[in-house]
Structure formats: structure tokens, C-alpha cells
């Protein structure tokens, strides 16, 4: 048996490999290729070299700050949501593993927002925000900061429940022996949290920070539906910026493609660093 697997593994891998190749590798490579071309449709291209890449930052000979703006805006957005989501999800998970009454009911409630699609969710929140803000003669798109906090609120509301479930699973896995031993040694709740639970949760934290980090950078639906990049283009996150470059301007498809490639490299690098950093502190149980 061992022998035949060793011999025939390519055959078993073939279906998945083929799907991966067709659905991911080929479009991905083709996408990188297109970022060096000027094209109207993807089958009709002309090689232009690095021209698309320079156009990301220099437009008509002048420095164009829209891309840079959406870069730092996205970074800030990601950092803020990552912090809020993880802290809140962890706190709720702690509360819901204490065995209080109705634990399952609350867990379901917190998880529910995740089941609604981003576009629908954002349109609902748009109505809520605007009807509240109209009392103060403002709208969600009055300034880039109202848009920012609106986005943060929606995304947190949606993702806290999901991360909470992961934390709950992690907390339940913390060895009861360890906790008991610590209690016998006289550890108080605070010491229990910082010295036992948090270190044991490192793998969970790695997963959750990774998910929130990439979700933050890749956010599109909520951005499109809630603010649409308004006012001006000031609340445009990277993904929406790429989309608008691709479809909004005549002859800019290649630049959109180039932005997408840079976007990929950026997210990949940041995720790898994050993974490395948080992995290094993990302990084997």
C-alpha cells in the first residue's frame, strides 16, 4: 500500500492540482503578465513594460497621492479593526466560557452578524448611521473620519462574533490541570490570565490576528456599500481603489492590474511577517 501511494501520488493529486492550476495559478500568472501590458479586454494586450507601475504614483508628470492616501488609510483601518476585534472578541469569549446562563444563546447572537453578507449589512448600517447622524446635520460621508469610524463599526460588528467562536474554542482547550495547579500555587485571576491562559492561547491569537489583518486589507464589500469611497475618494480602501482604477478610467486597466500585483505582494509580506512574529511566541502544550 505504502509503495503504491509513493508510486501513484501524482495521479491522486491531479484533480486538485488541475483545479488549483486553472482556478488560481494560471489567472495569477496571467494577471502579473497583464500588469505589464496596456489592454482593453484580457485577450487583447500590448506590452508596455513598467509604465503601468510608474503611473500608480506619477500621473501626467505629477505625484498622484490618491493611491498613497488609500494605502495609509487602509493600514490605519487594518490596525484599528485588528486591535478592536481581537480585544473585544477575546473579552466576550472569556465571559462566555464562565458557564453563565444562556451562554449558547449569547454565542449565537454574537455570531449571527457574520451570516449576513457584507453588502446587505452595510446598506442596513448606512440607514442606521445616517438617521442618527442627521440629528447632528452630518452624514456618514461628511468627512473621511466619519466614514472611517463607520467602516470600523460595521466591520467590528460583523467580525467580532466570528473571532469570538475561535477564541472560545481556544479557551476551552486550555488544560484544566494547568489552571488547577496555578490556583493551588495561589495565582489570582489576573495572574491566571496573563501567565496561563494567554500563553496557552498563542496559536489561537496567531490565527485570529492573521484573519483580521488580511480581512482588513482586503475589505471591499463594506467599503463599496457603506461609503463608496466618498467624500471624494478619501475613504477609498485599497481594494476599492484598484477596482475604480480598473473600471473607472479609460485605458487604465493595466494600471489597475499593476496596483493589484503590488497589493498582493504587500499583503503577502505583511502576513508572513505577522505569522512569523506571533508563531515565535507559541508554546507547545
Amino acid at each position: 500500500m505504502q509503495k503504491s501511494i509513493r508510486k501513484y501520488w501524482p495521479l491522486f493529486v491531479l484533480p486538485t492540482m488541475a483545479a488549483f492550476l486553472i482556478g488560481f495559478i494560471i489567472p495569477f500568472c496571467y494577471g502579473i503578465f497583464l500588469s505589464f501590458c496596456k489592454f482593453t479586454t484580457v485577450t487583447d494586450w500590448k506590452w508596455v513594460g513598467f509604465q503601468n507601475y510608474t503611473k500608480i504614483f506619477f500621473v501626467a508628470g505629477k505625484l498622484d497621492t490618491t493611491s498613497l492616501h488609500s494605502l495609509w488609510y487602509t493600514t490605519l483601518f487594518t490596525v484599528v479593526t485588528m486591535a478592536i476585534i481581537n480585544v473585544a472578541a477575546f473579552a466576550i469569549a472569556m465571559a462566555l466560557t464562565k458557564g453563565i446562563r444562556g451562554t449558547n444563546f449569547f454565542r449565537t447572537c454574537f455570531f449571527l452578524p457574520n451570516l449576513i453578507g457584507g453588502i446587505v449589512l452595510s446598506y442596513i448600517w448606512l440607514m442606521i448611521f445616517n438617521s442618527i447622524l442627521s440629528n447632528y446635520s452630518m452624514t456618514i460621508v461628511s468627512t473621511q473620519w466619519t466614514a472611517f469610524w463607520g467602516l470600523v463599526a460595521v466591520v467590528c460588528w460583523q467580525q467580532i462574533g466570528y473571532m469570538m467562536i475561535i477564541y472560545v474554542a481556544g479557551i476551552q482547550n486550555v488544560s484544566a490541570d494547568l489552571i488547577e495547579a496555578a490556583k493551588i500555587d495561589g495565582a489570582n485571576n489576573r495572574q491566571l490570565l496573563t501567565n496561563i491562559i494567554l500563553p496557552s492561547l498563542r496559536p489561537t491569537i496567531t490565527v485570529c490576528t492573521f484573519l483580521t489583518l488580511t480581512n482588513g486589507f482586503k475589505l471591499f464589500d463594506q467599503n463599496l456599500a457603506l461609503t463608496g469611497g466618498n467624500p471624494g475618494k478619501q475613504s477609498e480602501l485599497l481594494a476599492l481603489n484598484i477596482y475604480n482604477t480598473m473600471y473607472g478610467k479609460t485605458g487604465w486597466q493595466g494600471v489597475g492590474q499593476a496596483k493589484a500585483v503590488i497589493f498582493f505582494i504587500l499583503v503577502a509580506i505583511i502576513s508572513l511577517i505577522q505569522n512569523k512574529v506571533s508563531r515565535s511566541g507559541e508554546v507547545e502544550q
Partner: protein, 497 residues
């Protein structure tokens, strides 16, 4: 050994099935960012696929075809439709044509606001690409220059009554208008007539409103005497002008339609083609633009600080009789009179007047033009092109085609074949035609010349929003309008090289 053989055969079969499953969709999956596009088109594609019948099944006796129509040929026709609301009518029309001639006609309608994304992914399909697609303006003609077939000798162009309604680019007739539309200020005749009978009314008849100053005086007066009017006539007015929403669903009325006027008058002064535009503009008439905009905002009940919220529905305000004036176009007719919407206005209440701009009010008519042009895909096979031209000819000359366009879709077609029963019944067009007959000059749709229209408008709307809520100045609007135009024009030119 036997077992091994069976295993291998089974695995191979599995793998083959997998590949076959992927293969059919892989061509469109290679598109760089199809996620959004796919979602938008899937539903429409399915509908279109269901409509497509087997052309082979129909017999080839074409004696039934009318004698004076063109030879339908042996190619296939694929129309990528621009107007979502006409989808059903087009599907029916395509079916009728297929039944009559045996030519396969496929119709796909892009979701609202998704036309460009859909067109880009559909055009990548090579021999299965659309043979007829929509061009909005000369800018679109530039984008799709390699794909537009010269329609100079087509029957479509020959039947066009006003040749300026065709899009000319790079020495060819790139596209031909398939309908034309008009916009201006829609007003509620009944309420306005009632107002004219009041004591101290600014005017005694609607006809006296023939300049910006009079219009403004009337609007100001109505807005300040709302309670009085409601009491006297039992109306439910809340404002003179329906809200000027600056959200994405409404801002085009100002960054596009209202912006046409300053552009049009400037292009006219400079002696350039009013729908093709020029690389730089001076903003000569922006003060007039400001005056009109200020009137819209001041004579409306909407809070100027929350115009971008998207919580206003101008159509509803006008439909329910809460507003007297509403800047929009003839397409609003069906929505305003559709009983399902529960509006109180009836067809008899509706009238349209020019957006008086204080430049040439005595001669100004409604704004007449279109964003709907048919272009034929030059990269389709010669057979398909001939069949496509024959289909379009049939649409504008046959009884079925003309009936569908005029009565089912409610469009006003600019072809000389649309006479008698096929002339438009839309009351706004009757106003437009009356004004033309009166010798007024229709304002061309100069906004069709806007370079990188989405970007330019986004900046103008942003500045306009800031100006209106008090956080910006009018100079910012001017900058976005004038400097933005030059920048985007340059970018457009650069992209064309």
C-alpha cells in the same frame, strides 16, 4: 494487478471529469478581477442562455421574410443590452426574430451600473463576444476604437433623422443612437396653475416663466408661502424644489445633467462641437451654475448638510405632490405614472420646462441627447456582422421591432421609420417637440464630452458637497470643474497613445 488497473481507470475518469468541469468556465476565469463582474453577470447570462434557441432546429425556408428587408444571413447576433428595464422586451423581440428567420439572437443585459465591467469580460470571449454593444459617448468610442465597425453605409445610419446623434470617432461612424432623451425641470402643472391664481403670485400663468430670474422668483415665493398654498388648495407641499441629493444615486443630476449647461454654452462660444468638447475649459458660466444650484438647495426642505446621505428620494417627493419642481428627464414618466409606486401625480400633471440658465433663456429649449448608441463589433466574423446589421435593420423597420421599441420599451427612436403609430406618446417629448417647433434651440448633451467621467464627476460632487454643507468654498468647485477637466483630459489623451 486487476485491482490496480481498476483503480487507475477510476482515478483517471475522476480527473477527466474534474478537468471537463473546469474547462468550460476557465476562459472567463482568466480575467484578472472577475469576482465582481461574474456576480453581476451570472444571473443575466443564465436568463440569456435560457432564451437562446437552437438555430439549427428551425428550417431554412425564408419565404416568410418580408421582401424589402435585408438578408438575415447565416451568422449569429449577440446584443449586450445597456438598459436593464428593457431586458424582457429585448428577449421577446429576439425570440420573435429567431422564430421568423432562424438566426440565433442572444440578448444579455448588464446589471445597472455594471455595463463597462460586463462589456470588458464579454468582449474577451473572442468569437462568442457581443456583436452589438452600447457606447455612451465619444470617450467610450476611444476605449473601444479597435472594436467599432464603421456604420457609415448601414441602414441604421441612413435611417437616422439627425445625423449628429451618431458617434463619430477616428474617421468612422462608431455608433448610432438608438433612442434619444430629454431632460429639464419637471413641474407639477396642477399645483403651479393653482399657484398662479393666488393673490400676489409672481406670475399669472406658467407661460410667463421664461427666464431664470422669473423661475427663481416663483420658486422662492412658493417656498416661502407653503402653508398658505396648502391651506388654500388642499395640497401637501413641503418645498418648491425636490431635494438635490448628492449621493451616488442622485448626484449625476447635477454633476452630469446640470453641468451640461455651462459646458454647452462655453463650447458654443468657442465654436467647438458641443458633444465632443475641448481639452481645457474656462468655466465662463459657472456663476450661472452656482445660481441654479443655490436655488435648488435654498428652495428645498432638505437639510443642506445631509444631501450626501442618500436618505432623500426626490422622485417620491415630487410624485407625492410635496414638491413642485424636479430636475430630471423624460425617463421619469413611467416611474411617476406607474400605479405600483403609489404616487399621486397623473400624466396630466406633468410638464417639463428648460433649465433656465440666465444665458440665452429666450431661445433655450430642453436638453436633448442620448447615452444609448449601438456599436457593432468589428472583430466579429464577417457573417456575424452581416446578420447583426440585418437584425438591427429589422428592429427599426419591422412592425414588431418598432412596436417593441416605442410601446413596450417606451423609447423615442431617432429613425425616420418611426412615424404614425410609432411616434412617442411620452408627454415630456410632446413638450420638447413643441419647444422645437416654437424655434427654441435644444441644448446638446455636452456632458458626453466629459473625460474620465466617473473621476471628474466624483471630484465635482465632492467639492459641491463641501460647498453646500459649509466646509468648502465655491472656488473648490470651480477648481474641480475647470482644473479637473484639464487633468482628466490629459490623462485620457495619454491613455489613448
Amino acid at each position: 494487478m486487476k485491482k490496480k488497473t481498476v483503480t487507475i481507470v477510476l482515478t483517471a475518469a475522476m480527473a477527466a471529469a474534474m478537468l471537463a468541469g473546469c474547462g468550460s468556465s476557465s476562459s472567463s476565469d482568466t480575467a484578472a478581477s472577475t469576482a465582481a463582474t461574474e456576480a453581476a453577470t451570472t444571473a443575466a447570462t443564465e436568463a440569456a442562455a435560457a432564451e437562446t434557441t437552437e438555430a439549427a432546429a428551425t428550417d431554412t425556408t425564408e419565404a416568410a421574410a418580408t421582401s424589402d428587408s435585408m438578408d438575415p444571413g447565416t451568422g449569429k447576433v449577440y446584443l449586450l443590452n445597456f438598459k436593464p428595464e428593457t431586458d424582457e422586451a429585448w428577449q421577446d423581440l429576439a425570440q420573435t426574430y429567431t422564430d421568423e428567420t432562424g438566426v440565433d439572437v442572444q440578448v444579455l443585459t448588464a446589471a445597472d451600473g455594471q455595463y463597462n465591467t460586463t462589456l470588458q469580460s464579454e468582449m474577451a470571449k473572442g468569437s462568442d463576444a457581443p456583436t452589438i454593444f452600447n457606447l455612451g459617448s465619444a470617450t467610450d468610442a476611444q476605449t473601444w476604437d479597435d472594436y467599432t465597425y464603421d456604420l457609415k453605409d448601414s441602414s441604421l445610419y441612413n435611417h437616422l433623422t439627425d445625423k449628429s446623434l451618431a458617434v463619430e470617432y477616428n474617421g468612422k461612424i462608431a455608433a448610432v443612437a438608438n433612442c434619444y432623451e430629454c431632460f429639464g425641470i419637471i413641474y407639477n402643472k396642477t399645483i403651479l396653475d393653482d399657484y398662479c391664481t393666488m393673490d400676489n403670485a409672481v406670475v399669472s400663468s406658467v407661460d410667463e416663466i421664461n427666464s431664470f430670474d422669473t423661475l427663481k422668483a416663483v420658486a422662492d415665493d412658493i417656498n416661502s408661502r407653503i402653508d398658505e398654498i396648502n391651506e388654500q388648495f388642499g395640497t401637501s407641499l413641503t418645498e418648491a424644489f425636490a431635494s438635490a441629493g448628492l449621493d451616488d444615486g442622485s448626484s449625476w443630476r447635477f454633476s452630469g445633467h446640470l453641468a451640461t449647461l455651462p459646458l454647452y454654452y462655453e463650447f458654443k462660444d468657442d465654436g467647438v462641437d458641443t458633444t465632443a468638447g475641448e481639452p481645457t475649459i474656462k468655466g465662463t458660466y459657472l456663476d450661472n451654475y452656482k445660481a441654479v444650484w443655490d436655488m435648488y438647495v435654498a428652495d428645498s426642505a432638505a437639510d443642506p448638510k445631509t444631501l450626501a446621505s442618500g436618505s432623500y428620494n426626490a422622485e417620491e417627493e415630487f410624485g407625492l405632490g410635496e414638491a413642485v419642481f424636479y430636475q430630471n428627464g423624460d425617463w421619469e414618466y413611467s416611474a411617476l405614472t406607474n400605479p405600483d409606486n403609489g404616487y399621486e401625480v397623473t400624466a396630466d400633471d406633468l410638464g417639463m420646462m428648460p433649465i433656465y440658465f440666465g444665458v440665452d433663456d429666450a431661445n433655450e429649449g430642453l436638453c436633448v441627447g442620448t447615452e444609448n448608441h449601438w456599436a457593432v463589433n468589428s472583430q466579429a466574423s464577417e457573417e456575424d456582422i452581416q446578420s447583426t446589421l440585418a437584425f438591427l435593420d429589422w428592429v427599426i423597420t419591422s412592425d414588431e421591432g418598432r412596436d417593441a421599441i416605442t410601446n413596450t420599451m417606451g423609447l423615442t427612436a431617432p429613425f425616420d421609420t418611426f412615424t404614425g403609430d410609432y411616434a412617442s406618446s411620452n408627454p415630456f417629448f410632446q413638450d420638447a417637440n413643441a419647444m422645437m417647433a416654437d424655434g427654441k434651440t435644444s441644448v446638446a448633451w455636452s456632458f458626453n464630452a466629459t473625460p474620465n467621467v466617473d473621476d471628474w464627476r466624483a471630484d465635482v460632487v465632492s467639492a459641491l458637497t463641501a460647498y453646500t454643507d459649509g466646509s468648502g468654498t465655491w472656488d473648490d468647485v470651480k477648481t474641480a470643474f475647470v482644473d479637473g477637466w484639464a487633468t482628466q483630459w490629459k490623462l485620457k489623451e495619454e491613455a489613448a497613445q
